[in-house]
């Protein structure tokens, strides 16, 4: 039964067309954006520098590897002061209108920036720890504020030499398909296309009567449909991330930096990081595994919701648009500046944020659960496990009670 349900899902031509377009977009973006800076001329480089307000990567050859020998690893005070000094000299040269920098000088300039920046991050981290310590000293030790500060501080204390220069460029963008929000759009489009017909099509094709009158038509069939849907999600998810993985591998000529701390992860457009105060003591490869696992779980949770909507709505188009609205609603709230009060919570615990993942681990976020601080990712996971369990139960129950009266 599972095999036949799988056949139904995988013989829809539109999923192949959309999948092909998605891959094409990823390759196009990679070739025309990510790899663009690899072959950039000096004037373009400066233009991009000014536009982004931070240095951009320029080479995938061995220049950075050589610089890593000198500057690599966690920052030290010596490295910071030396890097700052060298940066100042180059800046002075540029101001004086000295002829443009050689590729090697540009790379060195980037590395100096990273090292100096890492020094700033290290300072921010220390300041954060001090601020938390003073909060702990000031507030009542039975209060929530105390417990929250204590929890964050204990996590930050676990971090060990997290800021520095690491060869990590290949991992930029490895966690998302193009970028976090695009990941949600691409994955949910493919999920909706593949799964909205699963139950709805049985209505529109008038096969429901035949199915429901069979021995397993009200029970095991639902299991087979769910298993086929999860297989589809697994194939789509792993295929897209594999394509993304290889695109990055090829673009950057390797996967160096897999064991660097995530606090060094640059955002895709510059050497700046969003993880400077992240309290999670993970290496990049661990974070990659966690990110993909969570995103996959989010896709699975969304799949169950789409299947339920498909069964209730009984129309493929309606099911598609209703599911799309559920995913896109938080984004619309934000656009309309409605992400306050209750909407803020709805947004934070939405399918969109769950699939996007990137906001979960950039900083310490905890919620007060019966007086105890519980980390945002854990609450999010807990809520979606409960919600999905209810959806699964309701799906089985509702399908068993389906009647054909039209």
């Amino acid at each position: 039964m599972y095999r036949h349900e799988l056949f139904k899902v995988f013989t829809r031509k539109n999923i192949y067309i959309v999948f092909f377009l998605v891959v094409l977009t990823m390759v196009y973006i990679d070739k025309n954006y990510i790899s663009q800076t690899e072959t950039m001329e000096e004037d373009e480089y400066v233009e991009l520098f000014e536009e982004r307000g931070a240095p951009v990567t320029t080479m995938k050859n061995g220049v950075y590897e050589k610089l890593f020998d000198e500057w690599g690893g966690p920052v030290t005070e010596d490295k910071i002061s030396l890097a700052t000094e060298k940066m100042q000299k180059i800046d002075e040269k540029l101001v004086e209108g000295t002829p443009s920098l050689t590729p090697e000088e540009k790379a060195a300039h980037n590395v100096h920036f990273i090292v100096a920046n890492a020094g700033q991050h290290e300072i921010s981290l220390q300041e954060r720890k001090e601020s938390l310590q003073s909060k702990i000293d000031d507030v009542d030790d039975q209060s929530y504020a105390y417990k929250e500060a204590e929890k964050e501080l204990s996590m930050l204390e676990q971090l060990d030499d997290t800021h520095g220069f690491y060869l990590i460029r290949a991992w930029r963008g490895m966690f998302d398909l193009i970028e976090p929000f695009m990941s949600v759009i691409l994955l949910s489009t493919l999920i909706l296309l593949g799964l909205t017909p699963v139950f709805a099509e049985e209505h529109s094709q008038r096969t429901l009567g035949l199915i429901l009158a069979t021995k397993h038509g009200k029970g095991k069939l639902v299991t087979a449909k769910i298993m086929a849907s999860l297989t589809y999600i697994g194939v789509v998810f792993s295929s897209l991330h594999l394509v993304n993985f290889f695109l990055h591998w090829l673009s950057y000529g390797g996967l160096q930096g897999w064991n660097a701390p995530i606090q060094s992860l640059p955002i895709s457009t510059s050497f700046n990081t969003l993880y400077e105060l992240s309290p999670f003591a993970w290496d990049v490869w661990q974070y990659y595994a966690i990110t993909l696992s969570i995103q996959f779980l989010a896709c699975v949770a969304l799949a169950f919701l789409v299947l339920l909507i498909s069964m209730l709505v009984k129309n493929v188009m309606f099911a598609f648009f209703i599911s799309g609205a559920v995913i896109g609603a938080p984004f619309m709230f934000r656009i309309l500046s409605l992400d306050q009060g209750i909407f803020k919570y709805i947004n934070s615990f939405s399918y969109l944020e769950f699939m996007k993942v990137d906001n979960l681990f950039q900083e310490f976020i905890a919620y007060n659960v019966f007086g105890y601080p519980v980390l945002y990712p854990l609450i999010l996971l807990f809520i979606f496990v409960i919600l999905t369990a209810l959806i699964v139960f309701f799906t089985y129950n509702r399908f068993r009670q389906q009647q054909v009266n039209e």
Partner: protein, 292 residues
């Protein structure tokens, strides 16, 4: 085996589709006869456990079928009046899919699929995609899926719609053959489908059972109420307005009309042998007989 339909009703909003229907069925072919809109399909769906009665219950050997659930549907074969098929599936894949839905062992299913394909004369089209099938072929495939699990209870709703005369005869004979140790409940508004095979006929009108009897008894009830008369073209409209008219046939001496009426309709009318078609006409409106 005893299938008891106990005071079953189905109401949609404020309209009764089936009203307090009761019948007891044992092995054999039962024909549910009624015009379009009489409630046949609704009753069939309730028997197939895909629609819940608003009142009453259906019992198989004293067990409520809604409580039997999978066990009831395990011995059920159902062919709805209108159904869809998966266009991308071949005939074999479709039947293998339904074999799995019916819980058939895979090895057994492979042989069984070939057997039912042969029964409905689709063996040579077994590898063709259903999207390329004609309406009649789809109907035959529907019949094949209903027979896959050797059902003890076979419910077929207008099974011969869209079949050519040869296939209709073939299917009729098939039902007759298999009905020995099972209950076959057949709904139709085509009386020739059941003329030779029905153990009993149930007449359904506006959701209510108006007659349940053997074919012989029904014929007996209209005995002496079927007339043949020759009329001219000029008086035909008046005859049609006043009486229930069966066949109208032109012959050398004018137009021969078959009239179903309690008393002699006109002076020169002659009593003739009644057929099931006349029974139908006697109990229902004449419009419903057009597909005979």
């Amino acid at each position: 085996m005893r299938l008891l339909i106990d005071n079953v009703s189905k109401k949609f909003k404020d309209k009764w589709a089936i009203k307090y229907f009761s019948a007891e069925l044992t092995e054999g072919v039962y024909a549910l006869l009624g015009p379009n809109g009489a409630g046949k399909t609704t009753l069939m769906r309730m028997l197939a456990d895909i629609s819940m009665p608003s009142t009453g219950r259906i019992l198989l050997n004293d067990k409520d079928i809604s409580l039997m659930g999978d066990d009831y549907r395990d011995i059920l074969g159902y062919l709805p009046q209108e159904f869809g098929l998966y266009k991308n599936f071949t005939a074999v894949r479709f039947l293998m899919y339904f074999a799995s839905l019916k819980g058939l062992d895979k090895k057994f299913a492979i042989d069984k699929v070939e057997e039912v394909l042969d029964l409905v004369n689709l063996t040579k089209d077994r590898k063709r995609k259903i999207g390329t099938f004609s309406g009649g072929m789809k109907r035959r495939l529907g019949i094949a899926q209903a027979l896959l699990n050797d059902p003890k209870i076979l419910i077929v709703d207008e099974p011969t719609a869209g079949l050519d005369p040869q296939e209709r005869i073939r299917f009729r004979n098939l039902l007759s053959e298999i009905a020995g140790d099972r209950i076959v409940f057949l709904s139709t508004h085509i009386v020739s489908d059941i003329e030779y095979i029905a153990k009993e006929v149930l007449l359904l009108k506006q959701g209510e059972l108006i007659q349940r009897s053997t074919l012989g008894n029904l014929l007996e009830q209209v005995k002496g109420k079927v007339w043949s008369v020759n009329v001219t073209q000029a008086v035909l409209p008046e005859i049609q307005r006043q009486f229930k008219i069966g066949n109208i046939q032109r012959n050398e001496s004018g137009i021969e009309c078959r009239i179903v009426h309690d008393e002699k309709p006109v002076e020169n009318a002659v009593a003739v042998h009644a057929t099931l078609e006349d029974v139908y006409l006697y109990f229902f409106d004449k419009g419903a007989i057009k597909d005979v």
